[in-house]
């Protein structure tokens, strides 16, 4: 009985690890796709422009 509970817990833990890895993999794919589309250039050009809205100035 104890052995089956322990093996079930180990299996659950492995499944949780797999879920977390799959989610990270999905976001890595999104990141790579975004890099391929050169979105970082848009991020950079937006970030280096002085954001008057953020400062509350119009």
């Amino acid at each position: 009985m104890d052995f089956s509970i322990k093996s079930r817990k180990r299996r659950d833990k492995q499944m949780k690890l797999k879920k977390y890895h799959i989610i990270m993999l999905i976001f890595i794919c999104l990141l790579i796709f975004g890099l391929f589309r050169k979105e970082f250039e848009t991020v950079f050009s937006n970030a280096i422009t002085l954001c008057l809205s953020c400062m509350g100035l119009e």
Partner: protein, 259 residues
């Protein structure tokens, strides 16, 4: 992972928060503005190293593009840390922690209205910028006021001509949250922050989780008393408000909470 956890349990959290604030606003590496910041740090700050993640999201929504790159980075951070970035890295969270240390009457508030941060995310960060082509969350964000608006007006007197009703409104919002932070722990994080709302979605699956050893736990309630997010710690770290600050772990007299 164990070494990271042991290090975090030994070090004072405010040290990490202070060092992070210094690095994120040191302007040491200007090229790093291609990266969205893991916390809510305004990129209009004169010394900001990273790009603001919420400002970046709004910009992509305004130009009608899906921000795969930004979502990828935020998702990676979230799936690894969950809301740990809020607890250890975010400068505005740090400021709220400092203000809460002021010894006055404390107002305990239920997290029942925690859903408001999802409403802020959907309405102010996504829908309204999409409809109006303006980054309305950035226009109202108190972090932008304290990190960018006020410093820039001090450093560049020419900009003072542009001060209008919007700046006045931002000052009111900033003062409101600063005062509220004295009486309630982390009100902005618990009820408003859209970045916290995004990271909250990952709390159930992130790498950092803690569990209560029910055999050791004596239900003394010390963990609930020290929790800055005022959650029921016995409910576990999968709760969306848990910022993995580890105060409960350090405070537990029975060492019943384990990562």
């Amino acid at each position: 992972m164990k070494y990271i956890v042991n290090f975090l349990l030994k070090i004072k959290r405010w040290v990490i928060q202070l060092v992070t604030f210094g690095i994120w606003n040191s302007f040491l590496f200007p090229g790093l503005k291609i990266l969205p910041c893991p916390g809510l740090n305004c990129y209009a700050c004169p010394f900001a190293v990273f790009a603001c993640p919420i400002g970046t999201l709004q910009h992509f929504i305004i130009i009608r593009e899906i921000p795969f790159y930004t979502i990828g980075i935020l998702g990676l951070i979230g799936s690894f840390l969950g809301r740990m970035s809020c607890g250890w890295l975010c400068p505005f969270g740090f400021l709220q922690d400092i203000l809460y240390k002021i010894k006055v009457y404390k107002l305990k508030l239920s997290n029942r209205f925690g859903w408001l941060r999802y409403a802020v995310l959907i309405i102010l960060v996504i829908i309204i910028p999409y409809l109006t082509f303006e980054p309305w969350f950035s226009k109202l964000c108190p972090v932008g006021t304290i990190q960018a608006g006020i410093p820039w007006l001090i450093l560049q007197p020419d900009l003072r001509e542009l001060v209008g009703w919007l700046f006045g409104l931002k000052i009111v919002i900033l003062i409101f949250f600063l005062v509220w932070s004295v009486f309630t722990s982390r009100p902005f994080c618990r009820f408003i922050c859209p970045l916290g709302a995004i990271y909250s979605l990952f709390n159930k699956v992130s790498a950092f989780q803690f569990k209560i050893d029910e055999e050791l736990c004596s239900n003394c309630g010390i963990c609930n008393k020290v929790c800055p997010m005022e959650i029921d710690v016995l409910g576990g770290s999968q709760q969306s408000q848990c910022i993995r600050c580890m105060k409960c772990i350090k405070a537990c007299p029975k060492n019943a909470i384990k990562i």
